[in-house]
Amino acid sequence: MFRELWESLTDALEGLGSVVHFLFRLTVNSPRALIRFNLISQQIFNSGALSLVIIMLSGLFVGMVLGLQGYELLQRFGSEEALGTAAAIGLVKELGPVVTALLFAGRAGTALASELGLMRATDQISAMEMMAVDPIQRVVVPRFLGGVIAMPLLAAIFSVIGIYGAQLVGVQIMGVDSGSFWSQMRASVGASDINEGIVKSLIFGVACSLIAVYQGYYATPTAEGVGRATTRTVVTSAVVILFLDYLITAAFL
C-alpha cells in the first residue's frame, strides 16, 4: 500500500516536472515563432475572437447578478450608492479573471487539447518531425502564445460588460443614482486594482494554455486518449486557476 502511495507521489512529481520542462521548451521557441506572426494571429482568432460571444454573455449575466445581490445587501445598510464600487472591484479583481479563465478552459482549452491530441493520434505530428518541421515551433507555440495574448483581453472585456450589467440592474431597474454609481466607483477603484486584474489574467492565460497544449501534445494517440486529455484539461485548469487565484491575491495584499 505504501508502495502504491509512493508511486502515485512520484508520478505526480514527474508530471509536474515534465510540464515545467514543456513550458521551458515553449518559451525557448517563442521568439522564433513570433516571426511568423500570422500563425499566432490565427490562434488569437481561434481562442479569443471565437470565445467572445460566450465571454460577453457570461459577463453580462454575472454583472447583472452582482448588481442585484449587491443592491440587496447594500440597501440594508443604506449605502446602495456603493454598488458601483462593489461591482467594479469584484469584477476587475476577482470575477473577471477567474470566470474568464474557467470559461476559456472550457471553450478554448478543450479545443486546443483535442486538436493537438487528434494531430498526435493521426500521426500528423510524427509526419512533421519526419519533414524536419519542428512541431513545437510550428503547431504548439502559436497556440500557446495565442491563448496567452487572448486571455487578458477577454478578461478586460468581461469586466467592462459586467460593470455595464451591474449598472443596468442597479441604476436602470433598482433606481440607484447613476451619478453616484460612477463617481463612487471612480473615487475608490485604484490603478493597483486594475493591475491586479491584468496580472491575474496574464498568469491564468499562461496556465490555461500551457495545460491545454501539454495535455493535447502528450495525449495517448487513441480516441479514448484524446477524450481523456480533453477532460483532464478542464479539470486541471479549473483547480490550478483557483489555487493560483488564492496565491496571487495573497501576494497582492
Binding site: G48, L153, S159, V189
Partner: protein, 188 residues
Amino acid sequence: MRKSRTLNLGTGTFVLLGFAALLFLTTQTTSRGLSVFSPPHFDLTAKFDNIGDLKVGSPVSMSGVEIGRVVKIDFDENEYKAVVLLRLNARYNHIPTDSDASIYTQGLLGGKFIGLTAGGADTYLKNGDQIDFTQSAFVLENLIGQVLANFTNSKANSTSSGDTSAAAPAPAPADSKAAKPKATEKAK
C-alpha cells in the same frame, strides 16, 4: 486569400475590442485617468500639525470644486510637522497668498481632503510657494475620547455629590461641545 482576410479582420476586431476594454477600465473606473495627459500645473507646499489619514492622491478643493491633488507627504523633523505638496491645475493661478488650507473629511467617515479658503491679498500664489495658514485634520477618535472623558467625569461628580438629577443634563454640554466643531466644519 478571402478566408485569411476575414480571419485577420476578426482577430483585429477582437484585439481592438480588448484594448478598448482595458482603456475603459484604466480611465473610466479609476479617478486617475491617464497620467500621460497631465494638464499644466504648479506646486504649493503647506505644513500641518496633524494630517489625519490624508493620502497621496487626495483631492484639493476650493469652494467644493476640485482644483488639484496631494502629490507628496513628508515629515519635517525640525518643526515636527507634516509637509504636504499640493499640485494645482495651472488654470487656478489667482489664489491670494494669505489663503488658508484646512483638512476636512468627506462625509462622516469618508476620506480626507484639503480645502482652500481664499484670503484677501492682492498677490497670488505661484509655483513653489508655501501656504502659511493651515488647520489640522479633525480627528474623530480624539473627539470621542474627549466626550467619553467628559461623560465619565460628570458621572463621577454626580455620584459623589449624590444628586441623581444632575446626571441627566450633564451629558448635554459634552454633546454640544461635540456638535460645535462639526458645525463649523460644515459651515466652511
